[in-house]
Assembly symmetry: D2
Homo-oligomer: 349 residues x 4
């Protein structure tokens, strides 16, 4: 079932899928969590007006990793062969308390040097530390909302109403400690071919304007200009130039952004792209194409397509060196139930 | 100045190095931070008895990344060529509040679903969310000490007395928000050849005993058994079987561990290994070889050698599949001034 | 409208009240928050089966402080006259990370001694600190859910469905940073007559059993035995003996509790009591009187009555000294939008 | 008396003090923490130049509550008799993330409404909540450094070099989780006579200038103008008018402050005042009287005198009403080992 969203078919499949879930539920105790869960996906009531079910997903009714399914062993092996020089470029930005962020988001760190005092009280303290080797150590306390800095979102970060990717409802998924589906621990390491689209260079500007809508034509013309094509399983990253404002003019940086429009998002999905990403704070133009539908781009990517997104990428070094294809690697801390991870992907070529 | 630790030479070089630092300091304002810093490295007073300066390091007096210098572009390119099948194995464990940890360490996450309520108050709320697309989102708050779970330590995590790698003192390096040297933002993405040493298999056991000291002979015999050798810049990971206790018997897991002894650590350094790691909670046997010198192994690795270490690796899948060399990739969130990052490296082959 | 809940009358008043709110809303801009809020209180749909509106409250439709309205200046002045000896008894328990608490709740503190290092780098550092007075300081980082330890709940802590005291809905009240109504910053200092009811002594036991339901007869007989009566505006505290398990057997402590039953709660409300409290972790027996209605006691106290409750009080010193009436003072940190505060009330006599 | 180091006559004082400690230590194991602790107070080396030991304190070598010892039952009983009208004035300001604070300090709260989702999954969920009473609840996560907002400092917050009140050293007192001496759990409820000194009114200004040094003459003339005197055990609060800048012009608010000078501090101590406090962010003028001795006022109050201080008091309502003596009550959350508590004292008259 590859291709654009075929809504009527999806609805029919949802019913078929619900049937097997129901059978499964019948085999369980009537009050089991499975039963509740089955109900949510079967019951399609409460969708926004005109919205048909977007599940089961292209990757099956129980899938949690969406387009990362496109990264097959063949894709990985192909991508590894893109390494020639052995150059590694870091695509992550450093996170600290001054990083631009939105109201309600925060991140703070405090050093913990208490060992310098506690170790002196040990019976076998020597000089300034513990033991004849005088060991001491330092740690830190971090507290914050995450969803700040260079990050990989889980596809569970956004919903349509109270529905997630594959039709789960918030009542099925939300736990006090995080999400029981779609948490970052479910996201595998990402190792694939990376493609940088320097849309700013194609448009002949240092930085695309706020709200600029990147079109499929921009994408195909940029690919042509760069002499490459995209493959299923690729990570397609957009260089818009917007990242130059990071920590330079944070107010302007946060005031809006250029980004891929809905047509481009559909193009990415049709091309079986695994991951997308930008050098701005979200994916998609802000202000958006449809003022009545805020953040429609990431909502569509995550909830309907299961297409993963990276934000606040440091793409400038690649753009400057005109490196447009590379091995992209991204490993992240697997905190259970989280909707995002602070990351720093690497491009290797 | 590549080569094993030559302590008397190092002491002589420390004096030479201090000379140039002094000249540099003289050129600055008398009260500049540089001046303070130069003083610390020049002034070798206060070292533990019998301890000569271990700085400047093999990689220079100003170096912050230690043995990661061994990972040259050639090493990266060679490692990438180890990918044949395109299989990716995740070496990270999931972190949650039940993860085994030591007193004083903690990690806690709480979901934030406030958007489900706030969005309903927006003037353009529709149905259950914001806008006609009824968007909602979920984030989380994390708070904790880190230094928990599968992690990469910064070489700034441990000291000898109040001295770091390259001789910096705590008074030079500690800020309320973390470390101004050796923070995780200074650690580049790690992309190199990974080698797994299945010492447990070599010894014919499922799990090495607590306190078992892995010797250079264990290492060389295991390499012979596995039909491989080590190269400069490699990541050498030890499979001890200890990780099987993780989340199965956390009390026993934390009660001690097997690990590479001091002779093996010196062997690793002599071989110009870039990174080491284990499937236990620290590196080196606990109880240690010298009861008067606690945690001498990681202290030596980080402070004297600048050799990076990984803890709590999930090595069992590689050991089971008998995969002993692979492309190791490790990218981490770059939080400024942190002494560690929660990570999940990947082995690719 | 003093007296027990008169439900049909309340419903009628709710309509009357809603009328004036509506008029108010009409005078505002159509998309103002006030308009949304007015709607919630007017629209009584969605209440549990058989439940009629409990608003407007005895203290008016806009009231946020419930029974604290009973503490008039006369009550305060009367209470102050109960101080004869000038003895102060602390009714709070110390909070630390070992304090008994429920899943999802946590509290953790880490010391911050970074000033000991940073001050040494100041241009005017002298010896071990900053300036000729060598000043240093220490702070700490706290992180936690609160709702732990000796605490005063806000009446906004609990809801019936999604309805608060005075009929507000969660969609009106919840902000990402806390509650915009009923936060602890709205709760005034509490200064009133305190009454201790030693129900354990009345029953001739050291500790009431888990699930024991304290009845109005228990209360009135205990008052008679203690030779006192209650007055409007009093704080009525129950000594059940359950607090002796605190930090002694936390598992048993958390496994249930004795407490005032629904008839006693109604008695307290009819008597115009301002505050109640216990030496156990919640208010009301656990298991409760009605297994189909969990935590009905605090829900009724907070949501329907606006009657404030204190938990985990250290009542043993008062009980031992047979001090049954006193000046109760309780001041708390006013963190905006919080549903509780860690407190330590004092009894003065 | 273990070890030599008897340097001056003052060491003889330490000896007298140490005598009882030594006896205690002798009864313990030789390597007990008590033994270490005794050493620190006996060993007076390392004090700032010209500084003689300030311990044992006026209240004994083992005292932890300093001038709060002045609040005898007689003082409490006298203070309670100051209540005539029964009026309660709240002296605390609300704390939120916008509260003015210094670099390195932070406070953040996030609501936790996860119960609204989790309760729906319970087997006995009904409608929107848990049970037939459809109960739900809301909590919050707080994270921060405290030492923000209206607060009561512990006398352990500040040191001279590495010495606390009564001569303890940081190596004796600092634990990873806080202070094992002088934590807020050691501070009793404060119930005493409060005196407001409206220095601004005496000087005929709305707000004293930044750096204005309040002198003993200012104090005695203000007392005369207000027709009152001070008593041992009083809480003496200064109204400077500086608090009018709070949340109005936070930059100016934090840029400095007026406050009691060293002569006034000595006057307070000589008068056996128990607590002092101001409507500014610290106690004492900033810039201070001696530019080479930063924050000498609070350092002297806490470390040498053990005299407790309150910051960021909302004194304006009392000043406006010309209420100059009252019952002051202050109860605080007893978090173990903390150096401060967020508070909101109350004045009752």
């Amino acid at each position: 079932m590859r291709g654009p969203l075929l809504r009527t078919l999806v609805a029919a499949m949802a019913l078929a899928c619900a049937g097997s879930l129901l059978q499964h539920a019948n085999a369980e105790d009537a009050s089991s969590p499975t039963d509740h869960i089955a109900d949510s996906r079967r019951d399609i009531a409460g969708l926004p007006e005109g919205q048909t079910p977007w599940w089961p997903s292209r990757y099956g009714a129980d899938d949690q990793i969406g387009t990362l399914n496109e990264i097959t062993p063949e894709v990985v092996a192909y991508a590894a062969r893109l390494v020639h020089q052995g150059t590694v470029v870091d695509l992550g930005r450093t996170l600290d308390e001054n990083t631009p962020k939105f109201p309600g988001r925060y991140w703070h760190q405090t050093v913990d040097v208490s060992a310098y005092f506690e170790n002196l009280r040990r019976p076998d303290a020597v000089g300034k530390g513990w033991g004849k080797n005088q060991i001491n150590w330092i740690t830190e306390i971090q507290a914050g909302t995450f969803q700040v800095g260079t990050q990989l979102d889980s596809i569970g970060h956004i919903q349509i109403g109270d529905r997630f990717y594959n039709g789960w409802k918030a009542r099925d998924v939300v736990e006090s400690w995080g999400l029981n589906h779609f948490g970052m621990e479910t996201v595998p390491p990402i190792v694939t071919r990376g493609v940088l689209l320097d849309i700013a260079a194609y448009k002949g500007v240092a930085r695309l304007d706020k709200g600029y809508v990147i079109t499929p034509e921009d994408v195909t013309e940029t690919l042509k200009r760069q002499g490459i094509t995209v493959h299923p399983g690729d990570a397609v990253l957009f260089h818009t130039g917007w990242g130059a404002l990071w920590n330079v003019d944070n107010e302007q940086f946060l005031s809006g952004e250029p980004g891929p429009g809905m047509a481009t998002v559909n193009w990415l999905y049709a091309k079986h792209i695994a991951v997308t990403g930008t050098d701005s704070w979200s994916i998609g133009p802000v202000p958006g194409e449809d003022p009545e539908r805020p953040f429609l781009v990431p909502q569509t990517l995550y909830v309907k397509m299961g297409l993963f997104g990276l934000e606040n990428l440091a793409t400038e070094a690649l753009a400057k060196q005109r490196v447009y294809e590379f091995l992209l690697v991204l490993t992240h801390g697997k905190t259970r139930g989280s909707t995002a991870a602070v990351v720093a992907p690497a491009a290797i070529f």
